[in-house]
């Protein structure tokens, strides 16, 4: 029974992707269009394009910049967001300003960051990623802290929990579902900015490599780049979900019970 069920589930999960890939394979098999090379050719190009050297030279720097920028945004966003969320006056003071900065599409900050930090090195790119990721995390943290159950705050106060313990045991865990929601939005913005930041200034990186392929009309290679980028997006999303499922197990369990499932 369990093997049958497992096979069934695998078939359901893998069925459509296999069909789609097969369709792509067949439809593109005889393609002479320069933009849509046969899938077979794309796959053949893969190993020669994504060598170890390219991995170290392009993929690793991109991901490192993303990691640093994202981490900066998470730290600054949570610290600032908690402070603003706890202080109604500060929140009222900063709300319109934050609304404005959040609304600026992050890529337009590239020219401005380029003015300050230059854009040939990594600093400008990391700042771009950090600044773009900051707003969703910051604003969701503010909302999460603000939406804390008042009875929990009262409980913490009546047991005289110290400020530090209140922050770490009550405020941050209570706000964590919202913080994660913000961090998830920030992650997809971060990946976008990782690519975009490499399109400015001379440099190496995943995004730069793909555009390089496109400009030199190395179309099958360009396609492999698109696929690699897609895979990175998928892997990062899966990693994020794994962390979230671990950290928010209590929240998911509680929600499930509330919904009567």
């Amino acid at each position: 029974m369990s093997i049958v069920a497992l096979a069934r589930r695998a078939a359901i999960a893998l069925g459509l992707p296999i069909v789609l890939l097969a369709a792509w394979w067949v439809a593109s098999a005889d393609s002479t269009s320069p933009f849509w090379p046969p899938l077979q050719k794309i796959i053949q190009t893969f190993p020669t394009t994504w060598t170890w050297d390219r991995f170290v030279g392009d993929v690793v720097p991109s991901l490192t910049r993303l990691a640093i920028g994202y981490a900066l945004a998470v730290i600054v966003g949570i610290v600032l967001g908690t402070a603003i969320g706890l202080m109604p006056r500060l929140r009222a003071l900063s709300e319109p300003v934050l609304e404005f900065f959040r609304a600026i599409p992050p890529p337009v900050m590239v020219p401005i960051i380029a003015l300050f930090a230059g854009y040939t090195g990594s600093l400008g790119k990391v700042l771009t990623i950090a600044l773009g990721c900051l707003w969703p995390i910051l604003l969701n943290t503010v909302e999460g802290v603000r939406g804390l159950e008042p009875t929990l705050t009262d409980t913490a106060r009546s047991y005289r929990l110290s400020t530090w313990r209140r922050l770490t045991f009550v405020v941050l865990p209570g706000a964590s579902p919202r913080i994660f929601a913000g961090a998830r939005q920030a992650l997809s913005i971060g990946v976008i900015l990782m690519v975009i930041s490499e399109l400015f200034g001379a440099n190496r990186g995943l995004g730069a490599a793909i555009v390089q392929f496109q400009r030199s009309f190395a179309i099958p290679q360009m396609w492999t780049g698109i696929i690699v980028l897609g895979l990175i997006g998928v892997v990062l999303a899966a990693l994020f979900r794994a962390v979230e499922n671990r950290m928010l197990a209590w929240y998911q369990g509680q929600r499930q019970i509330e919904r009567g499932e």
């Binding site: 999960a13 459509l16 020219p111 008042p150 990946v191 793909i210 897609g230």
Partner: protein, 278 residues
Amino acid sequence: MSSSPATLAPAATRGTPRARRGRRRPDAWLGVLGVAIVLVGAETLSRTGIVNPAFLPPVSEMYAKLFQLLGEADFWQSLWLTVRGWAVGLGAAMALGILAGFVIGSLPWLRAVTRSTIEFLRPIPSVALIPLVVLMYGTKPASAFLLVLYAAFWQVLVQVLYGVADVDPVARDTARSYRFGPLRVARSVIYPTALPYIMTAFRLAAAVALILEITAELVIGVPGLGRDIGVAQSSGAVAETYALVIVVGLIGVAVNLLARVVERKALWWHPSVRSEAA
């Protein structure tokens, strides 16, 4: 700090709407003060030379430039192109996303079969498609349209799927026992349940669509405010760069406000104030 008035008062008078509104006024003034502090602060930093004015011109100059732009036809043309690109892409994404979401969501087998594919395609960053759309359409608006569509579509689809899944099974069974046709079920049972989710989808997708529209303009060179920012920056017109960024930011604020107004108007009857489900 003292949080007492905000957090403690509800225990006494269980926050009547009027009482809550009364408290907003000092908040609004504080907000204005906050904006003023930032503007004056930036102006001072620049005027005193603490920050190199070549990087951060005085705010007054940015606004002077902005008012000058308001008199130029080219600026309005760019603004129109950006807003049009955003609206068309968003509209298409909403239409496709809602349609696909209703169809996939109402057919359990289809939902099961497509689940893995959706989970896989959704996180693929839309910017991965930049080289492809450049090859296909160059700097034509179609390039931006495809990027906006791809990015916003997944936001809508996923929200609508949540919404359709949220439909009360009893309501669905009732509709079926009265032999409602599929269209009537969609209109009278699924749609009202999914509406709040559709509104959330609109809010999220509207923001994403603007980001991608501007990105396409800035990176690919599709005509619009994004391209103007790139041009201004590379020609060293720093004040104009800032002026345009401010404009784009204000458009973003307008988009967010619009989304919130639409959400509130459409959901005034709805008991739950939904938070992000995405």
